[in-house]
Amino acid sequence: MTDIVGVISEIVRLTLLFATPFLFASLGEVFAQRSGVLNLGVEGIMLMGAFFAIFVVSDKGLALSPWAGVLAALIVGGLMGLAMAFVSVTLQAQQGISGIGFTLFGQGMSSLLFKVLAGGVITVRGFQPITFPVLSGLPFFGTALFQHNILVYIAFALVPISVWVLNRTSFGLQVRAVGQNPAAADSVGVSVARVRYITVTLGGMMAGLAGASLSIAITNVFQENMTAGAGFIAVALVYFGAWSPWRVMGGALLFSAASILQNFVQIFNSLRGVTINIPPNLLIMVPYVLIIVVLIFARERKRVEPAALTKPFEREEG
């Protein structure tokens, strides 16, 4: 603990690392919500993605490469996203309730598969940190920025890509239109259902990837219900970030930094000779309280909220 610069670089490194699953899941959710669908099934999809990814990679399972694990998570996540789209777009079910249904399904199913297929805790050698010539050896920045696994870089690269897709492509325009005014979009020939199917499936794939990043890049283990609410935090971060990928990234970093920092405060508290006694339970709450407080004070949220969010679209005939 003597090297303060070293500790700060570690804090930055860990903040980026642990922001990764939130970033994947939240960016996917941005697309779904911008098109008007609230998907609360993220938590369950993440669990399924986490399990399938690790099972594909693990020696107890298929013993394939981590990339195959990512592919499996994308497929499983995409299938669950597709199912969610079917329920919320085609069947026009109440989105909040059906999303929770998907979460419960994912929790139960991943636990069941875990028990039947794995039988106990699985560990893998997942994505390893990449070493860049010169860069990784830099003081401070080397540790903070250039010793991450590939999924971390992909997650952050997806932020500008998402912005570009949403704001600069015709597909992005369709997504926004469908979320703001589906009737108008429909009247100019945009298929609301098709766009929403695509975004919700994409959101599912991203949630699956988020789960994979947890199981085969960050923790390298799978344990029942290991997401422990991360999926819901990801959804909250979308509101927090007012549906803008950049701001969502800010939210993910803020939440992750707060979690890491509270760990370091606990560590500092337990140092010999440090007599400040902050109860750990209080510190653990900090990141969550932070999210709630920001949500309360983010006044402009209502202004930018997709107008058709959570509202199923029914085409008026004639």
Partner: protein
């Protein structure tokens, strides 16, 4: 006709009876409620496996039927499950979590035929008239201590991290024990503690572990089913992990050094045995380290861990089992302050030094002066001055004020009434009060063992005893010593002299020389005055037997053995009680059986059969085969 009817009735009756006896052999039905999954590598798995082991031992499903419900984070749902088990006439319902207690006590009276069990807990509801509840809870601090001792020796960075779930229950016991173990083996090491606030958040455990590693930790430990995330993190960092609940070395053989393993089989078996004999509850099971339910698994195949580390782990375990070390389950939240008033000096090689060195050992165990402050006043022969010193300490707000002498008793009982929020302790004594602990050493036991050896070693058949005054601890020792001599050498002559003082070294020397002149070649005695006598017997080329502290240091070729008082566990127990709000009421005595007494040998080369005789005497005293009298018959 009638006879035929009678016979057929008889056959029916026999059939019914036969069927009845078959139905009496129905399997015992056990319902198990687990907070997490049965393969969580932690708390729930330990119970599930224990139950499976009982089932196997009893002969499979036909003898014992297990129904388990896992993942019961929701207490309301767990209550429903308990009720269902009760309705279906289950014999034993195990609710494997402290959180289920409230509802369990509500339900238990409704199903008097069913036994309920819960843990971590010690409350069986017996004081509220509930008769069908068992409680169980392991002393997780004991295995935690063993792990901590090893971790303290193994760390290179001197930084060790704990990834805890919530600061409560089983986890806090384990963590407290671990910290004390590290303190005991490596006082320079820092133990960093974080809690994730969750039992199952693997990612949170991983991030906590990464933070520890970033802060320099090379060894981690932790509990609950979240830990796989942390173990993986320390494995990637090429560090080591110490486990609890289950043997996690099976999953991480290259990282897990040792594990405290819960084996609930004997506990469940004991519950079923109790039921078979008609007892449906009321027993609190508290497994301690090494008794079958709480074991250590050492991963000695692990490369890079020196053999000394495992040896130290085994030694710590042996010391805990012998009760020579007492890992506290509850630690004081703030700095704990102890004040002690002693009749002689802290270097008296006797009564005062014995307790002072115990205080220092406890101080190290708890983490140094920042955690345990020790204030002392030595050489307090004057009882009035001692009473004033005790009052000053109480006034200064010390948490525990110790009057280390029988003579201080009267004033202490007056004083204690004025300071009900202060804990007091005194000894040699057995009388307690609401806020007074009492302690004594069964010095006659070690006296006996010393006497056995003295009887065998004397060539002149004359043995001398230099006593201070015929009272208290000294008298117990001297009485025991004489009984020991008589047991091993009934013909030996015993010379007994009292100097009338505790501290008059010259008088002791004089008494010793008189005895030597009378033919004595082996001497013993008590109190801080004895150094004069030891010098005298050394000059005469004879042997000495000591008591209270190890006296061999300055006279290694003269002091054969010393009875050593180990006050550390007693002091630890008092600190633990005060930390939980109990200020007195318990009395302690040091015996061979409870680890409070020990024979420590000096540098004298003595025949093996003498040591064998001493060991046999110790074992006989422990088992109760030999009862050493405190008072000699007139």
């Amino acid at each position: 006709m009638r006879r035929q009817m009678l016979i057929s009735l008889l056959i029916v009756a026999l059939l019914v009876a036969a069927l009845g006896s078959v139905s009496a052999q129905e399997p015992i039905k056990v319902g198990l409620i687990l907070p997490s999954s049965g393969n969580d590598l932690a708390w729930s798995q330990s119970m599930y496996e224990g139950l499976l082991a009982v089932q196997e031992a009893m002969g499979g499903e036909s003898a014992l039927q297990i129904t388990y419900i896992e993942g019961m984070f929701d207490v309301t749902a767990a209550t429903e499950a308990m009720r269902d088990f009760g309705d279906e006439g289950y014999d034993l319902v195990i609710a494997h979590g402290a959180q289920y207690g409230t509802s369990l006590f509500e339900l238990a009276p409704e199903y008097p035929e069913t036994s309920f069990a819960w843990g971590t807990a010690s409350d069986t509801g017996a004081d509220r008239g509930i008769t069908n509840v068992f409680a169980y809870g392991a002393r997780a601090q004991e295995g935690g201590y063993v792990n901590g001792v090893m971790a303290g020796l193994l760390t290179k960075s001197n930084i060790i991290g704990i990834v805890g779930p919530v600061p409560a229950g089983d986890a806090i016991l384990y963590n407290n024990g671990f910290v004390q173990g590290v303190n005991a083996s490596n006082p320079d090491a820092e133990v960093l503690i974080t809690y994730t606030g969750s039992f199952g958040d693997t990612a949170a455990a991983a991030s906590a572990a990464q933070a520890h590693i970033a802060a320099g930790a090379d060894i981690l430990t932790g509990s609950a089913q979240q830990v796989p995330g942390a173990v993986e993190a320390i494995q990637s960092a090429k560090g080591y992990w110490f486990a609890t609940d289950t043997n996690q070395a099976e999953v991480w053989p290259d990282t897990v050094v040792a594990a405290q393993v819960y084996n609930w089989q004997p506990v469940i078996q004991a519950m079923l045995d109790a039921r078979a004999s008609g007892v449906k509850g009321g027993i609190a099971f508290q497994p301690t380290l090494g008794d079958g339910a709480l074991q250590m698994a050492f991963n000695e195949a692990l490369e890079g861990v020196p053999a000394e580390v495992f040896e130290a782990g085994r030694a710590a375990m042996a010391r805990i089992m012998a009760k020579e070390v007492y890992p506290l389950g509850t630690l004081p939240e703030e700095q704990f302050r102890i004040a002690i008033v002693m009749p002689s000096s802290i270097t008296d090689l006797a009564w005062s030094q014995a307790i002072f060195s115990a205080l220092l050992e406890l101080q190290q165990q708890l983490g140094g002066p920042e955690k345990l402050e020790i204030a002392y006043t030595e050489g307090m022969f004057d009882v009035t001055a001692a009473a004033q010193a005790l009052r000053d300490y109480a006034e200064d707000g010390y948490d525990l004020v110790i009057a280390h002498g029988t003579q201080y008793g009267t004033s202490l009982f007056e004083l204690a009434q004025d300071y009900p929020e202060t804990a007091f302790a005194w000894g040699t004594a057995s009388e307690t009060a609401e806020n007074i602990f009492a302690y004594e050493a069964n010095a006659e036991q070690g006296g006996y063992v010393n006497g056995v050896m003295a009887g065998l070693l004397t060539k002149s058949n004359v043995i001398g005893i230099v006593g201070p005054v015929p009272a208290g601890d000294a008298l117990l020792y001297i009485n025991g010593f004489q009984q020991g001599i008589k047991a091993s050498n009934p013909d030996a002559e015993i010379l007994l002299t009292y100097t009338g003082s505790f501290s008059d070294t010259a008088a002791a020397a004089e008494a010793a020389q008189t005895q030597i002149a009378a033919g004595a070649d082996v001497l013993s005695g008590s109190a801080q005055q004895v150094i004069g006598a030891i010098e005298a017997i050394q000059a005469a080329g004879g042997y000495w037997f000591g008591t209270q502290s190890d006296q061999s240091g300055a006279w290694p070729q003269t002091v054969v053995a010393s009875q050593v008082f180990n006050w550390t566990p007693v002091l630890g127990r008092m600190v633990e009680l005060v930390a939980t709000g109990v200020y007195g009421g318990e009395a302690y005595s040091l015996t061979f059986a409870n680890g409070g007494l020990k024979i420590v040998y000096g540098g004298v080369d003595i025949p093996a059969e003498v040591i064998d005789a001493a060991n046999a005497a110790i074992e006989a005293i422990k088992s109760g085969e030999i009862v050493v009298l405190q008072q000699l018959p007139e």
